[in-house]
């Protein structure tokens, strides 16, 4: 599985969305992405890439695109 596929799959599983909904998604743009959903999403991303995100990055992870930018800090290229 490519990094992009793993990344999208994290969104799909954590937020219970379809793959084509992930790109462009933002925090609170759907009911599932609230604070509870955010915990699940970040946990899924951490598991997918075997990383532990800094709390500043967890807080800044506000969209699909922002997540891609943040993951570069952990040497993960999407």
């Amino acid at each position: 599985m490519s990094n992009k596929e793993k990344y999208i799959q994290a969104f799909v599983e954590a937020l219970e969305i379809k793959e084509d909904q992930a790109e462009g998604l933002e925090y609170q743009s759907i009911p599932q992405w609230d604070s509870v959903g955010h915990m699940g999403l970040v946990a899924a991303v951490e598991d997918a890439f075997d990383i532990m995100m800094d709390t500043d990055d967890i807080i800044d992870f506000s969209s699909y695109e922002k997540g891609i930018e943040l993951l570069r800090k952990y040497d993960v290229e999407i």
Partner: protein, 238 residues
């Protein structure tokens, strides 16, 4: 049935208001004549959710549904958090609100951090009036001796919580929220009031949440609260 002249709402909303609390033992036949005489410009009615007969009666009298108010309780048990949740929990500190913190809170409320309450959602009121109401409510709570706390992320105010108690044992988490910068960050999952109340010697924590705020309801359940009561809330503008 209790009928309360909501004098605080005259200041908050600019009109006379009345609040009616139906109780589980109320019989429609016994309260109808008093209830039907209520004619305040704005009336709020709260009905226990298992009294469908009262809910129907209220709606037949022109009241419309606006929300469910869900009463939640926490027994202050030690919570086992997911490691990620625990990391965020440890990243947030708190302090008793300073005067400067209080000014920040008022500013944040005026900037519109609340939007799921029945005043915000009411087309005849809206968010601006709701913000005024919240500012006044916070000021009232402060005067009543409530405990106000500022949440801190990296030493920066990130949110607040207000606690009230009558007996030092049962505390009510009356109001709380994240500040604008931290609204879409996941910090809503970090709830420090259980820790605060335990330190204050409390044994139980209660709070209310609106059905118009399912995210907050989910966060409360995720932090160990359980639902104990549900009231249907109806309003009428005369």
């Amino acid at each position: 049935m209790k009928v309360i002249d909501a004098v605080w709402e005259k200041r908050n909303l600019g009109i006379d208001a009345c609040e009616v609390l139906f109780e589980r033992e109320d019989a429609v036949a016994d309260i109808s004549s008093e209830f039907e005489r209520i004619s305040a410009p704005y009336t709020v009615v709260k009905v226990p959710s298992d009294r469908n007969d009262i809910s129907e009666y209220v709606q037949k009298n022109g009241y419309r549904y606006i929300e469910d108010l869900i009463g939640m309780e926490h027994d202050l048990h030690d919570q086992v958090r997911h490691p990620l949740h625990q990391r965020l929990y440890e990243a947030v500190a708190y302090r008793s609100m300073t005067e400067e913190d209080y000014a920040v809170l008022q500013h944040e409320i005026q900037s519109g951090i609340f939007d799921s309450d029945r005043i915000s959602k009411d087309l005849k009121f809206g968010k601006s009036i709701s913000a005024v109401r919240y500012c006044n409510w916070v000021a009232d709570l402060r005067e009543q001796g409530a405990a106000l706390y500022t949440m801190l992320y990296r030493q920066e105010p990130s949110g607040f919580i207000i606690l009230l108690t009558k007996d030092g044992s049962c505390y009510q988490s009356v109001l709380g929220g994240a500040y604008r910068r931290y609204l879409k960050t996941g910090l809503g999952m970090v709830q420090k009031e259980q820790e605060i109340v335990k330190k204050l010697g409390g044994k139980k924590l209660t709070t209310n949440v609106s059905s118009n705020n399912p995210s907050q309801l989910k966060a409360l359940v995720a932090n160990g609260y359980v639902p104990v009561t549900v009231q249907h809330v109806f309003v009428k503008h005369n």
